[in-house]
């Protein structure tokens, strides 16, 4: 009995577990990427004499390159090389076909009821599949590569209950920004968030992914949606693993946020905090030097589809640059088959290699001093995309595409 989080930990440990308990758990999968792996290796090595110097399970340890791939600098290339050597030594494959959070589910590693830790804060995304996913630092991850274990204080849970039907031009990203506005940037600190309600049930896996991904922007340790038929359908052909369809049973939620999304307009988060959210119509005069469509929040096929539908047969504004980066090669190939990539290129966008792109400000569209960008990213922090005087606004793929056409932040409803 309990929240979905308590149910998952109870299932895992084979006894009833309640929020507030500190437990040590054998995790299902462990992941780190090109930026966080080198420090994880250092921690892993320091335990070599205790653990034999081999990863606990090669099938459950995942090294993914996505932050600066292909390498943009000698420094980045050298860190990659260090990790490649480690992978060779351990008999691990380095996955480099996209953003870690997109690749983990595509590979079938993320299943309902599992506990997955990643050396990346957006590891909370796995909650879209009814898994308990959470971000940790490199040392925790190095420990997990060595022992297969991690310690957790089982979190209390905040419930975000979503109802209503979205107006045309309003998307899961807008709903997510509304949640962050309501819950605040640390309203869920140390807590899990469980998303429930008819809107969540009606959302696709990709749409659920968008708000589970941004649970951390509310401080959340995890963001979860109970698995259902849509989850099963998505996972079909990706894994043979048997998994439990866990649900919250008579849960105690610390707090409940009710959001009726029926009258929600398209929203934009203004710099420098994600809860600085306003209706798009309030910031329409703001000129943008660059727009960016992609990331683990909004780089999937449905995101590219809506942007392509707006850009089809049009040209982006001559004073605005557009960067498009599909979340994975799987997404990229399907977008290619459906003609979206052709649409982006014909519209004047630069289409990049699947990965994080400019979201962490190291390559593929870094901003100059004083520039402004509108992006589908999850963070608008100072200096995140390049120069600290550059400003980042966040919006949906539709808002980003419409703004690419006009050169200023634009209400997508005029372009649908």
């Amino acid at each position: 009995m309990g929240t979905l989080t308590e149910e998952i930990f109870s299932y895992k440990l084979g006894r009833p577990v309640k929020a507030g308990e500190t437990v040590v758990v054998e995790v299902d999968h462990v992941m780190s990427h090109d930026t966080t792996t080198p420090l994880a290796i250092e921690a892993f090595r320091k335990l070599a004499d205790l653990t034999g110097g081999k990863v606990f399970d090669r099938q459950r340890s995942h090294l993914i390159f996505d932050h600066i791939i292909p390498a943009a600098t000698i420094q980045a290339a050298s860190l990659h090389r260090q990790t490649r050597n480690f992978a060779r030594e351990q008999g691990l494959e380095i996955l480099q076909q996209g953003i870690c959070h997109q690749v983990m589910p595509e590979m079938g590693f993320v299943t309902p009821g599992s506990i997955i830790i990643g050396a990346d804060s957006h590891s909370c995304s796995y909650g879209a599949f009814g898994a308990f996913g959470t971000g940790m630092g490199s040392t925790d991850i190095g420990v997990a590569y060595a022992t297969g274990r991690a310690w957790f204080r089982v979190p209390t849970t905040i419930n975000v209950h979503l109802t209503g039907r979205l107006q045309p031009g309003v998307f899961a990203k807008d709903v997510t920004l509304e949640m962050v506005r309501r819950v605040g940037v640390d309203g869920a600190n140390y807590r899990a968030i469980e998303f429930t309600g008819e809107l969540v049930e009606n959302f696709s896996i990709s749409e659920r992914f968008t708000f589970c991904n941004m649970a951390i922007e509310m401080g959340g340790k995890a963001g979860l949606v109970a698995a259902d038929e849509k989850t099963r359908e998505w996972l079909r052909g990706r894994t043979d693993k048997e998994y439990p369809m866990l649900k919250a049973r008579d849960p105690h939620y610390e707090k409940v946020f009710e959001i009726d999304a029926s009258n929600l307009p398209p929203l934009v988060a203004c710099p420098p905090d994600v809860n600085n959210v306003v209706p798009v119509t309030e910031v329409e005069s703001i000129k943008v030097d660059q727009v960016f469509l992609g990331t683990c929040t909004n780089g999937r096929l449905d995101d590219l589809a809506v942007a392509a539908s707006i850009l089809k047969g049009r040209r982006i504004h001559p004073e605005t640059r557009m960067v498009v980066i599909p979340a994975s090669r799987e997404v990229q190939l399907e977008a290619l088959r459906r003609g979206y990539i052709e649409t982006f290129i014909e519209a004047g966008a630069s289409v990049g290699t699947p990965g994080c792109g400019p979201c962490i400000g190291r390559h593929f569209g870094v901003l100059a001093p004083g520039e402004r960008a509108l992006t589908t990213m999850n963070r608008n922090f100072t200096g995140r995309m390049g120069d600290p005087t550059a400003e980042i606004y966040l919006g949906s793929p539709a808002t980003v595409a419409a703004s690419a056409l006009t050169g200023h932040i634009t209400d997508p409803r005029e372009y649908l």
Partner: protein
């Protein structure tokens, strides 16, 4: 005696160590750019033993352990905040950067004040104002990791993670 460097709420890991400098695991290198977005003078002027005091949600954002590592690289003795973001707190504890939660001390202290901190007892004495504060007690499991000096040292003591 050490100086307090005072910061506001929601100091995120992107400003503690920006992505463009986060391309090394070397603490001394990371330290050169620590907090450069919000306190440009900090990395130059910080002295070993100085103390960072911050508002709510210190260390929010990414999971990069480079953030507490950069602060350790600056030889900061302890970070005291009204609250910490979860991953930063965990990372700090894991790598042996002392972190204390003390609402009152932060509210009653100013940038540049002199301070003395007794980490064992969680006691914070602001020598400029003459006030003394008691920080919040640690979770018992966390306290064991802190006592060991970090998670790797804890595992070494216990023989495994349990």
């Amino acid at each position: 005696m050490s100086r307090i460097w005072k910061l506001g709420d929601n100091v995120n890991t992107d400003v503690i160590i920006p992505g463009r400098y986060n391309v090394t695991t070397d603490r001394a290198q990371l330290a050169k750019h620590c907090l450069c977005e919000v306190l440009p003078a900090f990395a130059q002027e910080v002295q070993p033993g100085d103390v960072i005091m911050a508002g709510h949600n210190f260390g929010c954002g990414s999971s990069r352990e480079h953030a507490p590592a950069a602060i350790l690289g600056c030889k900061v003795r302890v970070v005291i905040a009204r609250s910490f973001a979860r991953i930063f707190y965990r990372n700090a504890v894991n790598i042996g950067l002392p972190v204390l939660v003390c609402e009152e001390a932060v509210l009653a202290s100013s940038d540049g004040d002199q301070v003395e901190v007794d980490l064992e007892r969680g006691q914070i004495s602001n020598l400029t104002t003459g006030q003394t504060f008691q920080s919040e007690p640690l979770d018992p499991f966390v306290a064991r990791i802190v006592q060991a000096g970090g998670i790797l040292e804890y595992i070494r003591l216990e023989g495994t993670l349990r």
